[in-house]
Symmetry: C2
Subunit: 230 residues, 2 copies
């Protein structure tokens, strides 16, 4: 097992013994494709683009990836961020409908989609995992639709910070890998509005901001009520 694989396992299931039965989709990818390629990718690199064929599935070992859609007029929307331990690029269509880019330097493993499919034909559990993964992405997208459709700037930012904190499992202290513009493009706001809203949170003691890429969620109840009291 490669170093990257060990890292992945450590991130994803810290309490499980290495070598047990495959449980997650990632487990199955590892087991069925032990020779998968580990890649070091520099910051702001494109992993795949809209229109690329979907012949690879990726697992993120370290760093952060943003999944973007671009418009004819050059506007950008960030559908979601990928965190370490997560799988991305798993799509049923023959072509990607989004672009994946690294936010900072990143390490990832690319698996063959064809091999995954062949493996899945005879494996009910894997098929279920694939369906679950797509289904989870759908649920996430629909939740995000609710946010963009109903929430104002403060509510969106609170929702974003809380979800990120939960996914990173880092308690109240939050390391923001992405810049303000990325947050803006994810929440459908301008970069200035993101800055001003963070500042407003700061002044209301909802958060403190030790440095640009670090946020402490000081008043979780208040943030939560902002996020859910839609």
């Amino acid at each position: 097992m490669s170093v990257a694989h060990q890292q992945l396992r450590a991130i994803e299931r810290p309490r499980l013994v290495v070598g047990g039965e495959p449980v997650t989709l990632l487990d199955h990818l590892r087991q069925s494709q032990p020779g998968a390629v580990r890649q070091d990718v520099a910051r702001n690199s494109t992993i795949f683009s809209e229109g690329d064929s979907t012949d690879c599935v990726y697992a993120l070992v370290s760093g952060t990836v943003r999944l973007c859609k671009h418009t004819a007029g050059g506007r950008r929307h960030i559908l979601d961020f990928v965190l370490p331990g997560e799988v991305f690029g798993l799509v049923e269509q023959p072509e990607h409908s989004m672009t994946a880019e690294t936010v900072g330097d990143a390490v990832l493993i690319s698996y063959s989609r064809g091999q995954l499919d062949r493996y899945a034909v005879a494996n009910l559990v894997v098929r279920r995992r694939i369906l679950s993964a797509v289904s989870d992405d759908l649920a996430t997208a629909q939740q995000q639709l609710l946010i963009l459709g109903c929430q104002d700037a403060r509510e969106r930012l609170a929702s974003f910070l809380l979800r990120l904190a939960e996914r990173m499992g880092a308690g109240n202290r939050l390391l923001l890998p992405m810049g303000r513009q990325d947050i803006a493009d994810h929440l459908g706001l301008s970069i200035e509005t993101v800055c001003r809203t963070i500042r407003q949170f700061c002044r209301s003691s909802l958060v403190s901001v030790p440095s640009t890429h670090e946020i402490v969620l000081a008043d979780l109840p208040a943030l939560t009520s902002l996020a859910i009291e839609i």
Copy 2:
């Protein structure tokens, strides 16, 4: 084959001979569950709610269905509308994360999810169709995220009208089954903004509005450039 089934088939694949090989997910549902229940549902009725168990899958025969998510504070977002011939309620989670309501009077057929799953175990094509269906929903949601994240009111309305026209396949003359408030809740706008934007389109001769629930897309190129020139 029931009358409802015949109607469905007519809507969905108007040019195919009845009785051919099952192709779509709906074909398979019909074939595997010929005794499925046809239901007449009055306007503004709830078909299923957030939290209901996902033991049924539905096919819409006639009418329109809206798929909504509600927030703690009572706000509502319409994720999408379901048109005749389409399947809805197909979710992997054990509980629905949205509410399905009829817009006007509707006719639908409900199929057993459990039977579908049992049928799918031995049928590769059906499994593919299920995965495709979820995957299509994901693509739709992500496209909608782009719209809500990047577009202003005029662009959103143009996108909405064009997509609806395409799905209904009715050329330029468009019958709007839903009210203005529904459109607003789908596009993340207020009802007043929807009205004013339609009026603006009218004055610019992009559309004409013979009656409240009828819109003629008079200038398709202009509408298209609004929708894509994001």
